[in-house]
C-alpha cells in the first residue's frame, strides 16, 4: 500500500506540513516494500487550485492513502473520486504517523474544510 504524507522537509525526521495543497514535499511510503521517496509538490506556489493539483499528483503517483492534518473540499473530491483514503495525522512526527498507520491506529479524516479561498481582491 502506498501512502502519502505532506512534509516540511525532504527527510523522515521532518514534521508533517500543516497544509496539504501547499506542502513543499510529499513523502511516498510503500508499506509492503518499505521503500520511501520524497517528491516535490510542483503546485505549492500556484495562485489557486493548489489542493486540486496536489491531489492530482497523488493520484498520478498511484497512492492508496493520504495522512494529513487537514484537507480542503476540492482536494477531497479529487481524492475520493480516485478512491484514495484520507487519514487524520495524530502528531507532527512523520515516523509516528507511519507507525500508527501500519498498526491501524489512524482514523479517517472526517472534517473537510471548505478551503481558504477568501483572497478575491
Amino acid at each position: 500500500m502506498r501512502i502519502a504524507i505532506p512534509s516540511d522537509e525532504k527527510n523522515i525526521d521532518s514534521s508533517i506540513c500543516v497544509s496539504f495543497g501547499r506542502t513543499p514535499y510529499f513523502l511516498i511510503y510503500d508499506t509492503d516494500t518499505k521503500i520511501r521517496e520524497f517528491i516535490d509538490n510542483s503546485t505549492a506556489a500556484s495562485s489557486g487550485g493548489a489542493g486540486i493539483k496536489a491531489a492530482q499528483i497523488l493520484v498520478d503517483e498511484k497512492t492508496d492513502a493520504l495522512i494529513t492534518p487537514r484537507c480542503g473540499e476540492n482536494a477531497a473530491d479529487v481524492l475520493k473520486s480516485a478512491d484514495i483514503k484520507i487519514y487524520k495525522s495524530i502528531s507532527s512526527s512523520i515516523k509516528d504517523n507511519i507507525d500508527a498507520f501500519v498498526s491501524g491506529k489512524l482514523c479517517l479524516l472526517d472534517e473537510i474544510h471548505p478551503g481558504f479561498h477568501g483572497h478575491r481582491k
Binding site: 487550485g49 486540486i52 492530482q56 493520484v59 478575491r120 481582491k121
Partner: protein, 286 residues
C-alpha cells in the same frame, strides 16, 4: 467622456465621489463596477428598468471523444481541471473561464456550457442613468460582468460617464479603467492611504491614463497623501474635509449634494477641476 474613480483600498470614498459627481454633472451615467459589493444604488435608489443575467463559459468534456491526453489539465493555470480514472473533473468555482482548454484540446472534446455568475441592472434616478453589476457570492471573477457593463454603454455625446471601480489594482480594476478617458484616484490622509494610493498610481501610469487625485477625509496638519502627490507631481483635483455632517449624510445613504448647498458647491468645483484636466471637452456642468 468616461471618468473612472478608483482607490487602492475600500472605504476611501470612491462611491461618495462618483455618486456626488454624477449628480452635479446632471446628464450623466453612473456605472457601479464594484461588482462584489455594489453600493451606489443605495444612494440613487433607482427605478430598475432592465435586468440581465450574465453567464460565462465553463468547460464541458465529451467523454466519448476525450482520449485522456491531459493537455487541458496541464494547461489550466487555475487548476480547475483534474483527470481521475479516465475522466476529466471540472471545478466550476475555480474556473476563470479563460477558454484555453477549449482551444487547446487536440480532440476537440471540450465545448462550453453557460454558468450564471451574476447580473446587471439598469435604472434611473433624477436624470442619472444607473448601471449596477452584481457578482454572485463565491464566484472567482467579476471581469465578465464588468466587460458587459462597459461594452453596453453607448457613449452619448453630452453625457459624462462615471465608473465607480472596485478597490485595489487587480484584473477587475484594470477591466474597469481600460477604456476610461480620465482616472480619479481617491486617497485617505494616512500612511496606509499612501501605500494604497501608490498602487493605483502605478496602475494608471502603466495604462497611460491621464489622472488626478482627490484627497478625502482631510484634517488640519500633515497629510501624507498630499505629500505623496506633491512628490510625484500628481495633480490634486480637490480636497474633501473630514466632516461629520458629510459622513452622517453618506452613512444614511443620502446624496450629499442634494441635501446641502455647501456640498453641491464643493462637488461642482471638483467637477470643474476634473473637466479642465480631462482630455476632452465633452463634459458639461450645466
Amino acid at each position: 467622456m468616461r471618468i473612472a474613480v478608483l482607490s487602492g483600498k475600500g472605504g476611501t470614498g470612491k462611491t461618495l465621489v462618483s455618486v456626488n459627481l454624477a449628480v452635479v454633472a446632471k446628464k450623466s451615467i453612473y456605472i457601479d463596477c464594484d461588482v462584489e459589493e455594489p453600493n451606489g444604488h443605495l444612494f440613487f435608489k433607482p427605478m430598475v428598468t432592465e435586468e440581465k443575467e450574465i453567464s460565462m463559459q465553463i468547460p464541458k468534456v465529451d467523454e466519448a471523444i476525450c482520449n485522456g491526453c491531459r493537455k487541458c489539465v496541464d494547461f489550466c493555470k487555475f487548476n480547475a481541471l483534474a483527470y481521475i480514472k479516465g475522466k476529466i473533473i471540472v471545478f466550476d468555482d475555480v474556473c476563470h473561464s479563460c477558454g484555453g482548454c477549449m482551444i487547446l484540446c487536440p480532440q476537440k472534446a471540450i465545448s462550453g456550457r453557460n454558468k450564471s455568475i451574476g447580473k446587471i441592472r439598469a435604472g434611473s434616478s433624477d436624470g442619472v442613468v444607473i448601471y449596477t453589476g452584481i457578482l454572485n457570492t463565491g464566484e472567482a471573477s467579476g471581469v465578465p460582468i464588468i466587460k458587459e457593463l462597459l461594452s453596453g454603454i453607448e457613449s452619448e455625446h453630452n453625457k459624462t460617464i462615471f465608473i465607480d471601480c472596485p478597490p485595489g489594482s487587480a484584473c477587475i480594476v484594470m477591466e474597469s479603467i481600460k477604456d476610461a478617458d480620465y482616472c480619479i484616484l481617491v486617497a485617505e490622509p494616512t500612511l496606509f492611504g499612501v501605500h494604497n494610493l501608490n498602487m493605483v498610481y502605478e496602475l494608471v501610469k502603466l495604462f497611460n491614463k491621464p489622472f488626478g487625485a482627490v484627497l478625502n477625509k482631510c484634517l488640519e496638519g500633515e497629510n501624507p497623501a498630499e505629500k505623496f502627490c506633491i512628490e510625484k507631481d500628481i495633480r490634486i483635483l480637490g480636497k474633501i474635509p473630514f466632516d461629520r455632517q458629510l459622513g452622517t449624510l453618506n452613512s444614511n445613504a443620502k446624496i450629499a449634494v442634494k441635501e446641502n448647498k455647501k456640498y453641491e458647491e464643493q462637488f461642482s468645483t471638483l467637477l470643474d477641476a476634473i473637466i479642465k484636466e480631462a482630455p476632452y471637452e465633452t463634459a458639461t456642468n450645466t
